[in-house]
């Protein structure tokens, strides 16, 4: 069975960057947002790699990457992922900020997916990260899925096994370090990925060259998404007061430290 896999992946600041909120005219934003190096959202990248493997093992399949962000940043991030796996980009112009409303982003993504020429819902798998490193909500994919009429949805996915009969066995993360195992008859389905089990694919210049043909035109065609934050009002955005008065204990023996910790654990 062949699949049409659409991966929704936003871009986020490289996780090691220092983030600070500021108040902008349009609502909260990140300080120096445009200056921070960006990466494809970590969980969504896993989704992309899983999509590529699935497509590779199911000849005739195809992968699209739908991404909403400022064009210049999207272009830059694409150069760091386009050598990894084959995909066709569908770009949407708009802020990549975590403060944009999930429901509105979902509407824009669903609209873009629906507009993909030749899309066949009976083969459609919508992939993405179960949460993003920006909005951190874990809500966007489900809403996009609803708009596309997909009622088989899975979140926190760590594994997908496609059966010969077209069925999908899916492992989702649940509480206590356990997994729920479900079997889905087949597409259309939506999967929000957690870590997955694949290492990051290696850079392959040939894949890069091939992706590139459609990349620049897709960026040029990127339509602005409507993101008005309607009905939503931020009262404040603050960094947690994370500075603690750390007591540094330097000259105690392991025995003494162990004793102290044992007491602390017990109280």
């Amino acid at each position: 069975m062949d699949y049409q896999i659409v991966v929704c992946a936003g871009i986020v600041p490289d996780p090691l960057q220092t983030l600070e909120p500021v108040a902008a005219a349009t609502g909260p934003a990140l300080k120096n947002e445009m200056m921070l190096p960006a990466v494809l959202d970590p969980w969504a990248s896993h989704a992309l790699y899983e999509a590529a493997i699935l497509a590779k093992n199911a000849p005739g399949s195809k992968v699209w990457l739908v991404s909403l962000g400022p064009k210049a940043k999207l272009q830059q991030v694409m150069m760091t992922v386009a050598q990894k796996v084959p995909f066709e980009l569908v770009a949407l112009e708009g802020p990549a900020s975590g403060f944009t409303e999930a429901a509105e982003v979902a509407a824009a993504l669903a609209e873009a997916i629906q507009a993909i020429p030749g899309l066949d819902k009976s083969k459609l798998l919508v992939f993405g990260g179960w949460e993003s490193a920006s909005r951190g909500a874990g809500a966007t994919l489900q809403m996009a899925g609803e708009r596309l009429g997909i009622t088989e949805q899975f979140q926190g996915v760590d594994q997908l096994v496609a059966g010969a009969d077209g069925s999908l066995e899916i492992l989702e993360r649940i509480e206590g370090g356990r997994h729920q195992v479900s079997k889905c008859a087949g597409p259309p389905a939506l999967l929000g990925w957690a870590t997955g089990s694949l290492p990051e694919p290696k850079n392959n210049p040939q894949i890069g060259m091939a992706n590139m043909r459609a990349l620049m035109p897709a960026l040029q065609k990127a339509k602005p998404a409507k993101l008005a934050g309607e009905g939503l009002k931020f009262l404040s955005v603050t960094l947690p007061k994370q500075l603690r008065a750390t007591q540094i204990v330097k000259d105690k023996s392991p025995d003494a430290i162990a004793k102290e910790i044992a007491e602390w654990i017990k109280t």
């Binding site: 090691l16 200056m35 190096p37 830059q76 150069m79 760091t80 050598q83």
Partner: protein, 621 residues
């Protein structure tokens, strides 16, 4: 140097018309100029590809860092070549850019009393202190009332290398005419019968030693009619070509410096205006020069250079940078500030004397690795850009005339262009200007002034020594400050704990301890994390290697450990240092900070600095 052995593995191959190594200012100048001419306004090919007939010229650029704009530099620049390529650069809205405003050169006195000042300098210090009421003197610094014009940058710009490169990279790529691939190091040039036919990319899915492991993906061979080498002062491809083709007569790259910088959020009440440019000398050691440039929005780039002619077996840049920042003059501006970014990088200071063969069959060299940086004026970005733009002009000329990229043709169009330009004239003035430093700091300063003011006609002679020839022993270096046995013991104790020794030795020699504040004065590791956000992707070989372990076993100084900008090199078993790829910032200092010569080439030392991925993840440096 040991080339990685030619393996029999099957390598995939791809063909392009032009392949570039590294995306620094030089390649940016090249691609900016070239990309403008490759497509017609309707998107059709203005210059047709030889490898993909019907399509436009296929131009690829491979950059080793994980993203473009992760480089490290000052930057203050006169921006002559930049403006020629980008006439609207001043109004382009490049983040962190500001027109140069107030310029000052400051002589820093030694408030710590630990600096190794020659007698003459101490005399001068005494005189300055005695007459300070009559001099422009404040907070232990003398503001030089007059500075020679060759040092001035007025009319120029203060930039962030990272932000500028991101901006330029985006602009160049959006033309659709060229592709720039970050995170993709070039491991070597492909040379067939003295002709460069392309490049090989780095193997992936290998262990630390480079042996294939899980997910092995052999580096691809990219064949191209022209290979443009712009991999900077310590680039492995430049090194390979220097070894293979040899340097021109009497040319050698022996003068180096490692520049280390902080990007800082200045305190809210800072009196410093955007565009302010401060240069310092005299402290923490006379050989160490400092820079302090102010960007818009209360942000500053500041740092120091630790040169190869600062003859110390325990030279370090991080610790000295902290002492420099806490000098009363600078601390007056920095107190209350916050670290945003940090980085380090080697500066090739040999200038024209380090110029390699600029072109050969199938290749051309541009940028600092081609000897373009001017040490007299302290300028490298504009010069690197200029060489790239010149090469692009030459390449277009050859393409249009349908002439091949032979040495002869490249000499005629590229090298000649370069020779006839301001770049060459100024490089000649600068060529021997710093030779005086070979004999000490004071003669060095006099020599620089002489050369600068006489247009290069007057120089103080001095023969540049090879870096490894000038490293004194620990005992000699600390003579009169720390008894030899004690110095050795301090060092041995540190090495037994697996850490470098310079901090302990410096403190014993009178340098004050650093009062960490968690904001600006942070541990070296925190500078890597909070500032550089240093990281390394899995599955690549170690790019720093100790290729003559027996020399390391006998080495008494372990200069590599002391200098390492990332604490990535640490004392190891049997005297052979360890290397931790995840901490390396690719500054390249280990390439020239080694106390023993390579048995294969006296211009090289015992450390191999090869192509590798990872490093800082900051686009502000």
């Amino acid at each position: 140097m040991n080339e990685p052995e030619q393996s029999p593995i099957e390598r995939p191959r791809m063909d392009a018309d032009i392949v570039c190594v590294g995306f620094g200012p030089a390649t940016a100048g090249f691609l900016s100029t070239l990309s403008k001419e490759l497509l017609n306004s309707d998107g059709t090919a203005a210059v047709e590809s030889a490898v993909a007939p019907g399509l436009p010229l296929q131009v690829l650029c491979y950059e080793r860092a994980d993203d473009i704009g992760f480089g490290v530099s000052g930057v203050v620049t006169k921006a002559r070549a930049l403006r020629e390529s980008i006439p609207d650069i001043d109004k382009a809205g490049i983040p962190m850019a500001a027109p140069v405003g107030d310029e000052k050169v400051l002589y820093l006195l030694d408030p710590a009393g630990a600096s190794r000042r020659p007698a003459l300098l101490r005399l001068a210090d005494g005189f300055i202190r005695a007459c300070k009421w009559a001099l422009p003197f404040e907070r232990e610094a003398l503001n030089l009332p007059w500075t020679p014009s060759f040092l001035h940058k007025h009319g120029g710009m203060v930039l962030s290398m990272g932000q500028f490169m991101q901006w330029v990279g985006g602009r160049v790529q959006s033309t659709g005419a060229v592709q720039i691939w970050p995170g993709t190091p070039v491991s070597q040039a492909l040379i067939e019968e003295n002709k460069v036919v392309g490049v090989r990319l780095l193997d992936q899915g290998v262990n630390k030693q480079g042996a294939p492991g899980e997910g092995f993906a052999p580096g691809m061979d990219i064949h191209a009619a022209l290979t443009v080498v712009g991999d900077g002062p310590v680039g492995p491809i430049g090194q390979q070509l220097d070894t293979h083709f040899g340097m021109p007569e009497n040319h050698h790259a022996r003068d180096w410096a490692v520049g280390m910088k902080f990007v800082v959020d200045l305190p809210e009440d800072t009196p410093l205006k955007p565009g302010t440019v401060l240069h310092t000398f005299g402290y923490p050691e006379p050989e160490i020069f400092g820079f302090f440039y102010v960007h818009p929005d209360r942000v500053a780039s500041l740092g120091i250079f630790v040169p190869s002619w600062f003859d110390s077996p325990v030279r370090t840049s991080y610790r000295y940078l902290q002492h420099w920042m806490t000098h009363p003059y600078l601390w007056g501006f920095l107190k209350g500030g916050k670290l945003r970014s940090w980085g380090a990088k080697t500066l090739g200071e040999s200038g024209r004397r380090g110029e390699p063969q600029l072109a050969g069959d199938g290749y051309a060299r541009i940028g600092e690795g081609s000897g373009s940086t001017n040490v007299l004026t302290g300028s490298g970005v504009d010069e690197a850009w200029a060489t790239g733009a010149q090469l692009a002009g030459a390449v277009l000329e050859l393409l249009k005339a349908k002439k091949p990229f032979t040495k002869e043709n490249l000499d005629a169009v590229y090298v000649q262009r370069r020779r006839g330009s301001w770049l060459e004239q100024e490089a000649r003035v600068a060529e021997k200007s710093r030779d005086g430093f070979q004999r000490g700091f004071v003669s060095g300063m006099i020599g620089m002034a002489l050369a600068g003011l006489s247009g290069g006609r007057l120089v103080l002679p001095g023969k540049p020594l090879r870096p490894w020839e000038r490293i004194p022993s620990l005992e000699d270096y600390f003579r009169g400050r720390i008894p030899a046995a004690e110095a050795r013991k301090i060092r041995d104790d540190c090495y037994a704990r697996g850490v470098s020794a310079h901090a302990a030795l410096m403190e014993r020699a009178g340098w004050p301890a650093i009062a960490y504040d968690g904001q600006l004065l942070v541990s070296h590791q925190d500078a890597l994390l909070m500032g550089g956000k240093v990281q390394a992707p899995h599955g690549y070989a170690d790019h720093v290697a100790f290729v003559f372990p027996n020399q390391c076993q006998q080495c008494g100084t372990k200069l590599c450990v002391e200098v390492c900008s990332g604490q990535a090199i640490t004392p190891g078993e049997n005297g052979v240092p360890n290397f931790d790829r995840e901490k390396c910032v690719h500054c390249g200092a280990c390439l020239w900070n080694c106390a023993s010569a390579s048995p294969e080439n006296p211009e090289r030392m015992s450390v191999a600095f090869r192509a590798g991925t990872g490093g800082a993840h900051s686009a502000e440096n």
